[in-house]
Amino acid sequence: MSNLPSVEELPEAIIARFGTQKAKTGNWRTNEIEIDQDKCDFCMRCVVFCPDGAIKVSEGKLKMDLDYCKGCCICIEECPKNAIKEERKVELP
């Protein structure tokens, strides 16, 4: 409790400012996801359909931000080149 703001430190009502939410939701993932850069043809389908915005274009490559990728695998299903691979760490029921 000690790290939380006191009554006086809090504003009148419950408000929040952008940039404060930082929890690494990538740790929800039960699998590992990897992009095979050789197979990727930059169709960008994985970029737009990633619900977490975790795939970014960086230095001419598509990069998976594993801090936030929840491992849903929409990117794998949407990739026409089969360039994204999943390795399960935990078997789901």
């Binding site: 169709c43 619900p51 026409p80």
Partner: protein
């Protein structure tokens, strides 16, 4: 697997991101896709009002938020009425250009939120309403609502719904508002184009997006986009817009796939008999027959 040679030109979408990471959505959730592209299209001079829903819940917690533009978490039934007040304040304060947008679920739009929505629409308030439709009251665990389709089972209706899905876009069109459109998260360019168009129109604008939910619909989250696409390709979910009363089909499946290909991917249709599936197919056929006429 669908034919997917289609490349997506990123340049058609505005670059700025208004949703940060750390959103507390389930893996494979499509609500964040709806919000991400809606906000990209509308831009930074936007205020978003979201009544109680998954989306309202997953964006922020306590004093932490993952959304960059002003966002008000509204009461469940008060999305459109709260937005009405906000828009009038903007007009009063000389900020007419601020887009006021409500993003509500199907319950917050068509059930508990319907009175306020209908009221705002008939007053032709200068608001954009986006209904992201996951066809159940999902933030409470996927209970049956008026947008649950025929045959789908829910935790509170385990034998499958025997009633029809509410035709939300037609109801909204009957309010004679300047713009009504349907969309699907699988057809992002189409959705985005409609948002951009809506942004330019004054008055009440309504966009109804099919937004599959892996938890409620019973499928692996990896198929979220594929399922939405099958809903469109089977003809079950028609993509159209009604601008000032004139109907325009914005996407026509080249060859409609059997609707069962869509239905049988989802555990919520486990109790759907073959006869029921044929009934759904007939409904779809009739929808397109009416359109062709």
């Amino acid at each position: 697997m669908m034919e997917m040679s289609e490349k997506i030109d990123l340049d058609q979408f505005d670059k700025e991101e208004f949703l940060g990471p750390s959103l507390k959505s389930c893996p494979g959730c499509s609500a964040t896709i709806v919000a991400r592209f809606a906000l990209k299209a509308l831009g930074k001079d936007t205020i978003v009002i979201i009544p109680a829903s998954c989306l309202a819940t997953l964006l922020a917690t306590n004093t932490q938020t993952g959304i960059k533009i002003p966002y008000l978490h509204a009461l469940f039934e008060c999305g459109s009425s709260t937005a009405t007040g906000v828009k009038h304040a903007m007009m009063r304060k000389g900020k007419e250009n601020v887009n006021v947008v409500t993003i509500a679920g199907d319950s917050g739009s068509m059930d508990i939120g319907f009175q306020a929505l209908s009221g705002a629409a008939i007053r032709n308030e200068d608001i954009i309403h986006i209904c992201y439709d996951n066809e159940s009251a999902m933030n409470t665990g996927g209970q049956l609502n008026s947008c649950t389709p025929f045959g789908a089972r829910t935790p509170d209706w385990p034998l499958g719904k025997r009633l029809m899905k509410k035709d939300a876009p037609s109801i909204m069109a009957a309010h004679n508002i300047p713009y009504v459109a349907t969309a699907s998260i699988s057809h992002l360019e189409d959705f985005y184009m409609k948002l951009k168009k809506a942004k330019k129109i004054k008055g009440f604008r309504y966009i109804h997006v099919l937004s599959p939910c892996p938890i409620s619909w019973g499928y692996d989250g990896r198929y979220t986009v594929e399922i939405a696409r099958k809903a469109v390709e089977s003809g079950l979910w028609m993509l159209y817009e009604i601008e000032n009363g004139s109907f325009n089909l914005t996407y026509k499946p080249e060859r409609r796939i059997p609707v069962e290909e869509y239905l049988r991917m989802q555990r919520r249709f486990d109790t759907l008999t073959d006869d029921d599936a044929r009934k759904v197919q007939e409904i779809v056929n009739e929808l397109w027959r009416r359109y062709e006429e």
